[in-house]
Amino acid sequence: MARYIGQRIIYMIITLFLIATISFVLMKLLPGSPLANANKLTEEQQEVIYEKYGLNDPIPVQYANYLGGLVQGDLGISFKYDNRSVSDILGDRIGPSAQLGIQALIIGTVLGILLGLVSAIYHNGITDYLSTIIAVLGTSIPSFVFAGLLQFFVAVKWGILPVATWNGFEYSILPTIALAIFPMATCARFMRTEMIEVLNEDYITTAKAKGLAGSAIIFKHGIRNALIPLITILGPLAVGLLTGTLVIEQIFSVPGIGEQFVTSVNTNDFPIIMGTTMFFAVVFIVMILIIDILYGLIDPRIRLSGKD
């Protein structure tokens, strides 16, 4: 196990290094500069600004500084927001994003598991068809379409919840729902197949033959075994949530990292774009690592077959 984790961590570091290098090269290639109105400034003023961003050093020195900064969590200074460091800006905005992500993940997985279980237990009944339809719609319809529907009907037409911005818990309800639909549908589909498979296993027949009550079979033998493989889809789900926050935060004007990212893309603020990209990469990779290790701990078969 230790060897497996060690190997995974080495891969993780290589991948991160690669992403950092690509980001750096791109930053050098792209036409953005910290000078908003270059022709109005004198030579000396431009020099001062270049000095501030470390753009006068030779490229290899800049690269070393950049990598050194990354290790310490320093992502550079924004081009557009005067003197504010990228990590500072991201730090301010991480709260809403994290809250939305966690709320959506919890609500989505819990509802999804319930939905999947119900449709597996009442296999081929009306409940099964209904929840299958919900699952197909949920995985197919893009989150921004749901967000638009929610915003238009719940907020504008019926006026139940606020339309946008961020001012307390009730402001997080609509974006959370819009974000949670995809994980819910994915979990429901996955849970349904797993549970049906588990309920056909021999040990369930044994339990039935033993005379166990139906609820005991489902809770003690069924759900427990069906839940284990769910860990594997948590990774893709979390990635989906990351992608989702970019759009959902934009639609609901939530002051999170995603909204900042989209704004920066449209204003060519490259340090923020690259910093956020690095941040997403780290979050993504660490999450996948944790999930893989967890799964390896729970199910030894994965660890062994991981070597191919």
């Binding site: 993780m12 197919s140 893009p142």
Partner: protein, 383 residues
């Protein structure tokens, strides 16, 4: 029944001449995997409906912009934000496709309410019809008037039909939606096909040659898979000139990895089977083993995987357009249309509704097709 049986003459029966050789002859040609799949797909109602819908959507996206009287980029501010108006259907009032706008206005008395309606509807009082719901008693907002504004007549466009209305710049949304559908489908299919070619080649080579080649190729793949595709796609879009090809390249640069993994796994499994060994013993060259034995056996998996990668490419394209990294204006794709639709969500929701419904239908259709194909090609549940 009983009587008929008794009437049969015993002499009518003869023993069948059945020799050893005839027993070994296979009476019917055994059906191939493809034939089996087609047969089970024909029985799948949802699959057939989805297939039909997809064909309709593809045909519409190709021919609707050609047949249309308008082009996707033809602007005319005089006719901006017209409501949807469709011939024949315009006479059915509850569908709201008459091109007329109806809104309720309140005032102290009928007159003030009507005045409010007038200012709202470009002061074209000749083209507004009023329907007084409540006369009002002089207290604030007690009078209620329903005003219907015939914008097409007011603008002198009685003979024009914008099926889905027009956007802020007066472009015909019907033409733009279908044009955008074509662009989105084109991007998705191209991305999926490129993924297929690279993935199958990479996975196939790694698995077939095995050993050090496989080891090296897989380590490289693992590093690539580790990079979140969202990050790569966004970085690629930033350095490439915006356009259809930039999006296709950005989507394929990470998209091929899952195909490569699946193909490798399957080929590794197949390689150990006896029929490959037999063919190799008989002296078949590598090329022939790959083309005749391995590829046909992996085909089902490849088709299913491609079918699922198309909707995810459509989603990613829409997503990129949504965050401002998509096609530059005036080109339309479903993503850019939805993005534009959000800007006028509160005043003219129809601009968002049409592309959003269409993208949802396309995604659902592709998912159902993928599910159906997966079931049909899965030998475990072969009937």
């Amino acid at each position: 029944m009983e009587n008929q049986k008794q009437q049969l003459d015993k002499n009518l029966f003869r023993p069948a001449d059945r020799t050893q050789e005839q027993g070994d002859v296979i009476a019917r040609k055994s059906s191939t995997l493809l034939q089996d799949a087609v047969r089970s797909l024909r029985k799948n109602v949802f699959f057939m409906i989805s297939l039909f819908l997809l064909i309709v959507i593809v045909l519409m996206s190709i021919f609707a912009p050609v047949v249309s009287d308008y082009t996707y980029k033809e602007q005319d501010l005089n006719r901006s934000l017209m409501g949807p108006r469709i011939p024949v259907l315009e006479d059915i009032s509850f569908l709201g496709l008459s091109g007329k706008e109806t809104k309720t206005f309140y005032g102290n008395n009928v007159q003030t309410a009507e005045m409010k309606a007038n200012t709202q509807f470009d002061n074209q009082s000749d083209f507004i019809t009023f329907d007084v719901v409540s006369e009002g008693d002089g207290s604030p907002n007690s009078a209620e008037v329903k005003a219907t504004y015939d914008k097409y007549a007011a603008k002198g466009l009685e003979d024009e039909y914008f099926y889905f209305g027009t956007d802020r710049l007066g472009r015909d949304v019907w033409t733009r939606v279908w044009d955008g559908t074509r662009v989105s489908l084109l991007i998705a299919v191209a991305a999926a096909l490129i993924d297929l070619v690279i993935g199958v080649a990479y996975g196939g080579i790694a698995a077939y040659y095995g050993g050090r080649v496989d080891n090296f190729m897989m380590r490289f793949l693992e590093v690539i898979i580790g990079i979140p595709n969202l990050v790569v796609v966004i970085l690629m879009i930033l350095i490439l000139d915006p356009g259809i090809w930039a999006i296709i390249i950005a989507l394929t640069i990470t998209g091929w990895t899952s195909m490569a993994r699946i193909v490798r796994g399957e080929v590794l499994k197949l390689k150990g089977h006896e029929f490959v060994l037999a063919s190799r013993t008989l002296g078949a060259p590598n090329r022939k083993i790959i083309a005749r034995h391995l590829i046909p056996n992996v085909m089902g998996l490849i088709i299913v995987n491609t079918m699922f990668s198309i909707p995810s490419a459509i989603f990613f394209e829409a997503f990129l357009s949504f965050i401002g990294l998509g096609l530059p204006s005036p080109a339309a794709s479903l993503g850019t249309l939805i993005n534009d639709g959000f800007k006028t969500l509160l005043t003219t929701p129809s601009l968002l509704v049409f592309p959003a419904v269409l993208i949802s239908i396309i995604m659902i259709v592709f998912n159902i097709l993928g599910d159906g194909l997966r079931d049909a090609f899965d030998p475990k549940i072969r009937k």
